[in-house]
Subunit: 218 residues, 2 copies
Amino acid sequence: MALAAGDKVGGERARRGRPPAQSSEDTFDRILAASRRCFSRNGYDRTVIADIAREAGVTPRALYHYVASKRDLFAAAADAALARFGAEVAARVLVHRDARSRLHAYIDVFRVLHREDPSLVAFVSLSALESRWNPDLPDPLTDVVEQLQQANRWLVDEAIANGELASGIDAPGAAALLEVFGAGLTLLAGGDRDQDYPAMLDVMERLLDGQLFASGPS
Amino acid sequence: MALAAGDKVGGERARRGRPPAQSSEDTFDRILAASRRCFSRNGYDRTVIADIAREAGVTPRALYHYVASKRDLFAAAADAALARFGAEVAARVLVHRDARSRLHAYIDVFRVLHREDPSLVAFVSLSALESRWNPDLPDPLTDVVEQLQQANRWLVDEAIANGELASGIDAPGAAALLEVFGAGLTLLAGGDRDQDYPAMLDVMERLLDGQLFASGPS
């Protein structure tokens, strides 16, 4: 009964047995969210389909209506999280014309996604680590990571071209700093300090505006 | 011939067969560095003792003079990396009396350790992730992570008590931001952007001093 990879079913057969008020897409979204939480908590190797089904509140059999294997489920969860992240960056960051507004908007991407579901934020870096370590996993992530690196570099180059950055700022170094922020912001999401996440983003915005300290450097 | 866990041998039997100019400690340090690189590159589960021995330039048999198992080798490598990190923080950060100097010194910790060996920096977060995912691994890391969280909170509380931070800065949020920086800084070490690491730290120092942008926020 297992379907081919990527063959997400919305048809009559897959809907059978589930409550009529709940669409197939809702169920699959719930399965993806459960996957993110289980993979993040226990790692890919120690997560089994039964754990994810239990977390999602479906039977393992129902889960196999959507994906053929744990590997495909991981790939679907990673694809969905990275696509969502990329779409938020495009919608929020790229609409601004100056570096400072873009960086504040980048912080807003994390704010919005974290409010929606911390595991969505956490899975961006965790899935990249897993696919680095696990040769069996598909690597849709390399492309996205490269796109994010290019976006960071573009943001920095534009800022320098527009005279927004102070003189002497190293462009590859500044782009790497954006990666450090991105990695740290995703890694901290969903952990034991999660209640401080929104306040942490506020402090980051203060730092960005040079308003963290009561006075300038002596 | 395998020794009991933690039973690091410096005696006659263990030295037999190695070049006389090379001390047992040098060899064990080299084995620990090779462990960090292999575990970081391939993850704990997909690393075997033979990989580490090859990377360290010793025979698997020689490696078993020092540790009884892959698990013990991971624990020893994590212990050593975290102890080194903690010692640098104590020596560099705690000697300063103001928050700004302490934060610059914290960045210096990463600079110094990265210059010595990027895998040392990378292994701080990777080992914490592995021990979270792998119930078989010892968890010496939880204590260290808690100590670092407490150190971050102490640094922020002191800064607020001394009137160094601008009004309205949330203390738990600021401490969480230090964790974000720590996680990002360790995660980026040893990767494909490693040549930009020192320049990235320079940009971070500029940001800390409110000197990233050519002008203040409008």
